[in-house]
Amino acid sequence: MAGIVGTPIFEAPVAEGSRDQHMVLNMGPQHPATHGVLRLVVEIDGEIIVRLYPEIGYLHTGIEKTCEAKFYQQVVPLTDRINYLDPLSNNLCYCLAVEKLLDLEIPERAQWIRVMLTELSRLNSHLIWLGTHAMDIGALTVFLYTFREREEILRLFEAVAGQRMMTSYFRIGGLSMEPPIDFFDRVRTFIRTFGEKIDEYSNLLTGNPIFMNRLKGVGYLSAEDAIAFGVTGPPLRASGVDIDLRRDMPYSSYEKFQFKVPISHAGDTWARYEVRLIEMRESVKIIEQALDGMPGGPVKADAPKIVLPDREKMKTQMEALIHHFKIVTEGFDVPAGEVYQGIECGHGQVGYYVVSDGTAKPYRVHMRYPSFATLQALETMCKGRMIADLVAVIGSIDIVLGEIDR
């Protein structure tokens, strides 16, 4: 294939006088402020960024190709590994896409538990963003507080799924199992005090003059640019575009919940900080509503050829044993077609594009992840600013390299 050219490290322009001399600086791929293995080739004029080129792909593991060799239900654990900070959103998006192809009705209780856990997962994602973002700016203390609460969330995930990070709790057709008996009480205990915890973070940061000076007016992104670059989630809403798929194109019963979508028109790093803080408070409200109105009933769809039977049934009923054996060894056929399912995760809009050719393995799975598109806007946000602002801006767009490289 022609036209594949070498790594685009900028040629440092050798200017006539020393005043115009630009320097090319490699930031990463092992830089702590890039939140993973992101390499930024930055051309600087003194301290001012002239050009910036993100170089990605260091974490590319070919998950999309792997999906083509797995049964539909075996893809679920792969999705956890993409955005490891918000695992349940990935599970949800994939399951919703396949359920759309299968035309499967999900019991209400499963949908509500999905909403509740996805919101917990969003809190998890935002807590890591807040901790690491503040740490990049130099406010080390916040990190300890946010990780204290994150630990609680991970314990909840462990209680419900048996795994702290790679949960794989949502399955095609519902949940993997009913949550433990005291689970909802534990979530309630956690949520009851979480509002105060957000106040605590806010007290540490919102009035802090150093934090404010580093963030205000930095990394400006206009609404037009944000839309043109495909930026989604909190950065888009911080630029004044009022769109949230949970409210505007509801999925998994989100239409039954009342919550506000925070927006800001400032478009800078500070606006993104404020939007995310309010989002955390709204997530708490959604979880409270889910706990209060949790419907009863099964957590798995009534589709014995698709959903694995309960352990108890599998050991006592011949039919269930046969279905179990068939699903595990042969998978289940999914009708041919193509679907795209979009959801709103902690970072922005996730989309799963699943193409089926009628067999038990997906013909093609493509994931649209928000950080991939948001990274394109980085140069626009940083151009003409100090190099120290770059660290603040990367922190504020909240990228996960696992989902960029996939």
Binding site: M1, G3, I4, V5, G6, T7, P8, I56, G57, H60, G62, E64, K65, A69, K100, L101, D103, I227, A228, F229, G230, V231, V241, I243, D248, M249, P335, A336, G337, E338, V339, Y340, G342, Q349, G351, Y353, V355, Y363, R364, H366, R368, F372, A373, L375, Q376, D405, R406
Partner: protein, 166 residues
């Protein structure tokens, strides 16, 4: 599977959804550019003839489908036409998504880039170029994005070997 609310084929869609803003816009602009259409799983798919994708993207953008969300390819090897490009475009005003589709034949497949309409298509087109080997004419920086620059082959093609030594 054909669901009760699905419309297969261009005529059925033109008949069933005459008031759909994207369909209307495409028809007003150039009816010949629309090769095929279907409405399935509540998703509208418009198949555009390969040479017209950039103009079609501009047309649906003016019609209110303002947000480029996703773009990828599917390899139907050994079928023909081999490659399918799927563009997913969201409308913030209508809260609705459409899919534009382009079918390409094998043998140095190439198509016009839509980066002139949405800058954000840049990375997505680079990814398709890298993993499928489809060229995008007019792309500002068509380089490999995931694989190393000296890599040979395009891993997401169906005829790419998945085992053995290379």
């Amino acid at each position: 599977m054909t669901k009760s609310n699905s419309l297969m084929g261009k005529l059925a869609v033109l008949d069933g959804l005459p008031e759909h803003p994207a369909v209307k816009a495409i028809l007003a602009w150039k009816p010949d550019a629309l090769a095929d259409a279907k409405f399935e799983f509540d998703e509208l798919t418009l198949t555009i003839v390969p040479g017209e994708i950039r103009a079609a993207a501009g047309t649906v953008r003016s019609a209110g489908y303002n947000f480029f969300e996703d773009m990828t390819a599917v390899d139907w090897h050994p079928g023909s036409p081999r490659f399918q490009l799927s563009y997913h475009i969201l409308s913030h005003a209508f809260k609705e998504r459409i899919r534009l589709r382009v079918l390409l034949e094998d043998g140095d497949p190439s198509v016009e880039s839509i980066t002139a309409v949405w800058v954000g298509a840049n990375y997505f087109e680079r990814e398709v170029f890298d993993l499928f080997g489809i060229r995008f004419e007019g792309h500002p920086n068509l380089r490999r994005i995931m694989m190393p620059d000296e890599w040979v082959g395009h891993p997401l093609r169906k005829d790419y070997p998945v085992e053995g030594y290379r």
